[in-house]
Symmetry: C2
Subunit: 481 residues, 2 copies
Amino acid sequence: MPSASASRKSQEKPREIMDAAEDYAKERYGVSSMIQSQDKPDRVLVRVSDLTVHKADEVVWVRARVHTSRAKGKQCFLVLRQQQFNVQALVAVGDHASKQMVKFAANINKESIVDVEGVVRKVNQKIGSCTQQDVELHVQKIYVISLAEPRLPLQLDDAVRPEVEGEETSTSQAVFRLQSGICHLFRETLINKGFVEIQTPKIISAASEGGANVFTVSYFKNNAYLAQSPQLYKQMCICADFEKVFCIGPVFRAEDSNTHRHLTEFVGLDIEMAFNYHYHEVVEEIADTLVQIFKGLQKRFQTEIQTVNKQFPCEPFKFLEPTLRLEYCEALAMLREAGIEMGDEEDLSTPNEKLLGRLVKEKYDTDFYILDKYPLAVRPFYTMPDPRNPKQSNSYDMFMRGEEILSGAQRIHDPQLLTERALHHGIDLEKIKAYIDSFRFGAPPHAGGGIGLERVTMLFLGLHNVRQTSMFPRDPKRLTP
Amino acid sequence: MPSASASRKSQEKPREIMDAAEDYAKERYGVSSMIQSQDKPDRVLVRVSDLTVHKADEVVWVRARVHTSRAKGKQCFLVLRQQQFNVQALVAVGDHASKQMVKFAANINKESIVDVEGVVRKVNQKIGSCTQQDVELHVQKIYVISLAEPRLPLQLDDAVRPEVEGEETSTSQAVFRLQSGICHLFRETLINKGFVEIQTPKIISAASEGGANVFTVSYFKNNAYLAQSPQLYKQMCICADFEKVFCIGPVFRAEDSNTHRHLTEFVGLDIEMAFNYHYHEVVEEIADTLVQIFKGLQKRFQTEIQTVNKQFPCEPFKFLEPTLRLEYCEALAMLREAGIEMGDEEDLSTPNEKLLGRLVKEKYDTDFYILDKYPLAVRPFYTMPDPRNPKQSNSYDMFMRGEEILSGAQRIHDPQLLTERALHHGIDLEKIKAYIDSFRFGAPPHAGGGIGLERVTMLFLGLHNVRQTSMFPRDPKRLTP
């Protein structure tokens, strides 16, 4: 096999690597010169996924990676991979291929990218190991377009995070295609509902919620911080009469948490909305948005879901319409009935959240529900108290498979009450002056919430670690690649 | 006028503020109690934009801000504003309103949010000062929902950046609605073209392009940096066979540039794409994406464009299909003909870019064009050299109204050539080892580019400062709100 630094010739005149005088196929294989946009050939490249019996007996060009190769006497079987699809290709000594060409093909490093010309042939017996089971490609020409070095480096390995040899690439492709779909469905749904997308700054002059868990940035001669949430900015847009806004962007948390569901940088899908009379108007919009995402994924991403399920089997995600809404006190009653001792104003621990998820699934047959009316004591100062019960608040979390994916609330839009609640929480008013002042010039009642993209992806697919649903995860110990 | 801290009663029993015994309308006005989601009334609120002659003589409820108020004897004219729409409302002493009620209405602070019940009445003479010119609202009830303090603070003023009294709110709404549209059209177009949206990390362990102009972050016990570009991550996704990717997210530049077009944090619309044989395949996709954005804006956002034009008049944005592509040497010839002296390998200065934009507009009647084949000497080390001319490169910028909005190139996908080019640029190989290693395992030829969202918004609308198209601009001197 020639090395990557070997000299190259033009694509149509591949380099000879064997005893040329003997080789009647010498023009039919080799390492192409680097593609530097020398030419604009009118050659059409066919997608591997399009190689079916409909193309039987056609001569096609395909660009794909060498997934595996296996030489056997006068022939060599390659599996050619393109994204999540692959096809078997056969190079056999005969009219088109010489024994040197078969040897060349057999020696191409795995993962190299090749251009192959071949005839699509129907096979008698299905090829179980390939996605294209009914055909194989009889190779007439093969040129290496980009040569892979002999092994994958740790770093790239890391990025695709394999768990089962051979399946990792397809799984990874499927996970992130589905994640792209979540973002698309989120925005599509909200834009149809009349929301406006906003862009909020990530470098801020003061820590959003009092200063804990915030990353510091050197900003010219001063310090600045990385935003822990776009909440203040979403609320300012509501005060500026945008009425319904959303944003998608990075959220930063300097928490030294090393769990399956915490990242120091994650993607927040954030919503904020003015309502007329009751924050349930907002809760219903958010829940419906999630339902539209679930339905869209199940409709448009079945292939991806099945690909992931092959490596990580899991029950299909279940949800109700309309979404189940439980009040916190009802959840407490269910937990107590199951033997858990908890105070009325105590927050849910992670194990109790999971247990509650199981109890809800048993009773209501849903993996998605809203938990409403959290105790005021366990929520941030800006949460609107429940006017009917001073120990409750107009706040809610949403859960998927027993794990929290969204936290939200009606926000206090009255500067006087906001001041009172901040004092009650022992917050230094000077530090949140700008926040409180935002509401002094007429603020509509509003509510909102923030969704963690990696968690939604993980829980929808029944995976067990957000690092599987973040391409380049960031945690206290991990900052590369 | 009651102060914000005045006691409140329930919405249906507004507080009396005058001599109650005399006031037959006392139940028909007042300051509502804070909306804490006490009730879910079935009252329907009508949009101001829906107040037309079709609703003549109907009784409607409207929630809006008091934009202006003017008392005149026994009546008070209010202009009620909802987003970019407004309507005249009349409170007149009569069956429904007492003189106390008229006085109450006249004294409501501007920008307060009110719920108004009124009859829609056709007017004989168009009301030129309102968007709803054919009707006015004869008020029967008026309750303050959220009271504004007497004046706008500097801070909020700042956020909406007024330039002409009264029009600023509508202009601001329109600018950012159109900006939301740019993001939507960008993604819609790319998803239809088969692109996958990716999320790239913003906290990185090493400076992307050698270390200059990068913000430093304290990351637990170490230092990290804010990403100046998602380019490395986009390219890694191409190496992982995603083929066509895009991302939208913040980009950070620690440049002490105080110009009309530089921000330290801006929103990047980034594209990267594997191609078959020629980087023009990618250039055409990017240019077509921008054309689809321009067409979509002109089709779906005429109202917003006209609203902005009212305050900031400008020529409609012109573009050709297919997009004009000029080579750098052609541009040089045009500039030299116009009297500019420039070397063949010299970069364009900002004034020369603008002049070129004018020359191109005169000659080709387009505000949008591609400048292709930049001198290799003025582009970053990872730019693919032109195989036919060693002084040129496979790189391009795109321009709107004579200002650069996108910079892109075919990237070198061969580790050996990449190493050579880095050494030629005097770059420490150790610092870019991870980058070079990304290409050792079979990389398809690829190209891409990054678009600045704020610049596209500014130049499409013919505005003159990116601070007008960033809700919360960040520059070396500005970090709030």
